[in-house]
């Protein structure tokens, strides 16, 4: 229960961001859909095109729609300076998503008006704008408002997915909870999002009832409660000025959550107000630190090396880190230093299986691969590292199945797969009795955990002084132990608790 209360304590700032994002998307969608619905109701050809496009958008899964705006905005950056991450892509995707119910119900509401009433409006001498304002709008309102309620509910629900493009929302809790199997976090996120959706839906419903029954007091009262409630919910975003907030970023797995808290705790003690932006994809997080939307996060040398720098060679550790630091500096991002451990992609098998099959290296694995099944995390099969491994050790598995990390370990334990693309700092490698295979041809580059700092805080001596003690300080066994505390099924700790344990263990 106290874990749930702890989780609830994280709701207010995320709820504020969630409300702001959903409300902005809904208002923008209304501003687009209203004139379009009126135009569509007058011209069937326009209605066919507008509703067709809106329906088509609706068939795109909302997660994919959000993700598609990242490359779209990136390409737009050549023309205008727009952020490709965070609020803007989330706003645009949610706006498009809200269009269909608004448009469809708007057109249906206008078409549903008795033609005799329209004829009477013309006959008493109403101009087109008087007819719209006095007759069509109020008579189409019940159906149009029903569309608004649907759009509001959808938008509030889909806004939880905006976490993946770096916009803060209640989805932060849900995604973090799913990754670390902290159901109290998932529950807190879901309860808050559902409660918000129900409250908004109910209040808009009251406004509609007030209008329908000509009870002006009820309509205005419900509207005032709705607006005041939404304004109050965004209160945590009202900045008093003064102390600059810093944003600590994290990707979507336990080790990242722990390291984010470890960094955040140090910054808090140095007097900064810290915000966490968790659950960012590998593809977007470096862009976020380069553009200053995230101030600091931990990445892995090999990831930057292959994904961002597009390098395919695998030099020794020292020259690799030197090249990497020079390259990020060219993007304005400061590589503050390696933390002291690696989290490399490492193929892992059960100890008994490896011994029985005589597999110790990736070359051995390649020879056995036609009779083995590979389980991977969700992105590995698309990553350049996998291509590099296959170039060095031609392998073809009987099957390959992507899993979210927790389920990948379970799949290996239960025998559904024979080998997995594990992470070398993962506590479950030791806990589950797994062996990792060696890479004699050095196909996979080094994966030193490195601290990356955005351009502005890189010039802030106090900021750098707060995080610099972490450099070279975290041995891999300490990291594994902390990871296991978060990832294990029993006696699970929160990332905050594991971060505090880790700080103590390394003497900070």
């Amino acid at each position: 229960m106290s874990a749930f209360l702890d989780a609830l304590a994280r709701v207010p700032p995320l709820l504020a961001a969630h409300v702001l994002l959903s409300a902005a998307a809904l208002l923008l969608a209304l501003a687009i859909a209203t004139p379009l619905a009126i135009w569509s109701a007058r011209r069937p050809a326009v209605a066919r095109v507008a509703l067709g496009i809106a329906s088509l958008i609706q068939t795109i899964p909302s997660l994919a729609l959000l993700a598609l705006f990242f490359p779209l905005l990136l390409s737009l950056r050549a023309i205008v300076a727009v952020p490709a991450l965070g609020f803007l892509p989330a706003l645009l995707a949610l706006t498009l998503y809200a269009l269909l119910p608004l448009l469809r119900n708007g057109v249906a509401g206008l078409h549903g008006i008795d033609p005799a009433v329209i004829e009477a409006a013309d006959a008493v001498g109403m101009t087109p704008s008087q007819k719209l304002r006095l007759v069509e709008a109020p008579l189409a309102a019940p159906v149009a408002i029903a569309g608004l309620r649907t759009a509001a509910t959808w938008t509030i629900g889909a806004a939880t997915l905006s976490t993946t493009v770096g916009a803060a929302s209640l989805g932060d809790l849900i995604f973090a909870g799913l990754q670390t199997q902290s159901w109290s976090l998932v529950l807190a996120g879901c309860v808050a999002a559902a409660g918000l959706a129900l409250a908004v839906d109910g209040l808009i419903g009251l406004v509609e009832r007030g209008l329908a029954t000509r009870r002006r007091g009820l309509a205005i009262g419900a509207l005032v409660v709705l607006l005041l409630g939404l304004a109050a919910a965004t209160a945590p975003l009202w900045r008093a000025g003064g102390e600059r907030r810093v944003v600590v970023g994290a990707k979507n797995f336990g080790e990242q959550f722990i390291l984010a808290r470890l960094i955040g705790d140090r910054l808090t003690r140095a007097g900064y107000t810290v915000e966490y932006r968790e659950g960012l994809g590998s593809a977007v997080i470096f862009g976020a630190v380069a553009s200053g939307e995230v101030d600091v996060y931990v990445d892995y040398a090999g990831t930057i090396w292959t994904n961002e720098m597009r390098r395919t060679d695998t030099p020794p550790r020292a020259p690799m880190l030197r090249d990497l630091a020079a390259w990020t500096a060219g993007k304005g991002v400061r590589m503050a230093g390696p933390l002291g451990f690696e989290n490399a992609y490492a193929f892992a098998m059960k100890r008994g299986d490896a011994a029985r099959l005589g597999v110790r290296t990736l070359a051995d694995l390649a020879a056995r691969s036609p009779s083995l099944r590979l389980g991977s995390d969700l992105e590995f099969l698309e990553r350049p590292e996998w291509a590099a491994v296959r170039r060095a050790y031609p392998m073809r598995f009987a099957s390959t199945t992507p899993y979210s990390p927790t389920f990948m370990y379970q799949a290996l334990a239960s025998g559904r797969v024979d080998v997995i693309s594990a992470f070398s700092s993962d506590g479950r490698i030791a806990a589950d009795g797994l062996v990792t295979l060696t890479d004699p041809k050095r196909a996979i580059p080094g994966y030193d955990a490195i601290l990356l700092v955005a351009p502005a805080p890189a010039r802030d001596a106090r900021f750098l002084a707060a995080i610099r003690p972490l450099v070279g300080r975290i041995p891999v066994d300490a990291m594994r132990a902390a990871n296991l505390q978060v990832d294990r099924a029993d006696d699970k700790r929160t990332p905050e608790q594991a971060a505090r344990w880790l700080a103590e263990r390394i003497g900070l």
Binding site: D114, P115, A116, V117, I118, E119, A120, A121, D122, A123, V124, G125, M126, T127, Q130, L134, V135, P138, L139, R214
Partner: protein, 252 residues
């Protein structure tokens, strides 16, 4: 009465819907103060001709003049605010009270609100219905309110498109008599479109018969009752006459 009622002139009015000429070159003049009934079967073009007066239908050719002025001379909403229009499906605004419905014309014209009590009195309804909503009223009451709404801006030209068509016979007779009285009291020019020759004969001062988009007869009720007006008109007069004869025989 301050000014004479308006006159309406059709000059070669022509309107085509697809391949059908709904109004096929009609020219005639309606004098101030006349109560004209425009009679014909369904599809004869009578409603289309009526609607060219307040521009709910724009003719393909020809012109419509009110007191010598082309109806296309200004914006259509300004024209319509001077013309009362009542039609079969009534079209009260369902989200407004009776008083708000009656006040619609003056409101959109930016005039002072009308005397709702007096207008309700004109159509023989109690002042208490002013605050009711349209759905609470009977069909006959609603049609009377539509008439009050049409008269509210001080219209002197009243267009009635099958205005009594949806009412039960008793209500229909009552509203019809009231219309005839209002025509006289307010010194209106009235044009009534109907497919019911008996209604035309009993209410109007002049009956026009339309067939296939043309005026085929133009006579007074007395002339028609006396067998005049031509073949097409007499075919329509024959129906109520035969009904009256049969009723008389039943009474013997």
């Amino acid at each position: 009465m301050p000014s004479p009622a308006p006159a309406v002139t059709f000059e070669g009015v022509f309107k085509r819907f697809g391949d059908v000429a709904a109004v096929d070159g009609v020219s005639l003049t309606i004098a101030p103060g006349e109560f004209v009934a425009l009679v014909g079967t369904s599809g004869s073009g009578k409603s289309t001709l009526l609607k060219t007066i307040n521009r709910l239908v724009e003719p393909d050719d020809g012109a419509v003049l009110i007191d010598g002025r082309d109806v296309r001379a200004g914006p259509a909403p300004l024209l319509r605010r001077r013309i009362g229009y009542v039609f079969q499906s009534i079209g009260l605004f369902p989200h407004w009270t009776v008083a708000e419905n009656i006040g619609a014309g003056p409101r959109v014209a930016g005039q002072a609100p009308p005397d709702v009590g007096r207008l309700l009195d004109l159509v023989e309804l109690p002042a208490s219905v002013a605050t009711r909503m349209p759905h609470e009223l009977s069909g006959g009451q609603r049609q009377r309110i539509a008439i009050a709404r049409a008269l509210a801006p001080g219209a002197r030209l009243l267009l009635l498109d099958e205005a009594l068509g949806a009412l039960d016979p008793v209500t229909r007779d009552g509203v019809g008599r009231r219309l005839a009285d209002l025509h006289a009291e307010l010194a209106l020019t009235t044009v009534l479109v109907t497919h019911d020759m008996a209604e035309a004969l009993l209410l109007a001062t002049r009956v026009l018969v339309m067939k296939d988009g043309r005026i085929v007869a133009d006579a007074t009720p007395a002339e028609l009752a006396g067998g005049g007006g031509g073949e097409a008109a007499q075919a329509l007069v024959a129906v109520p006459r035969a009904q009256a004869d049969r009723l008389r025989e039943l009474g013997r």
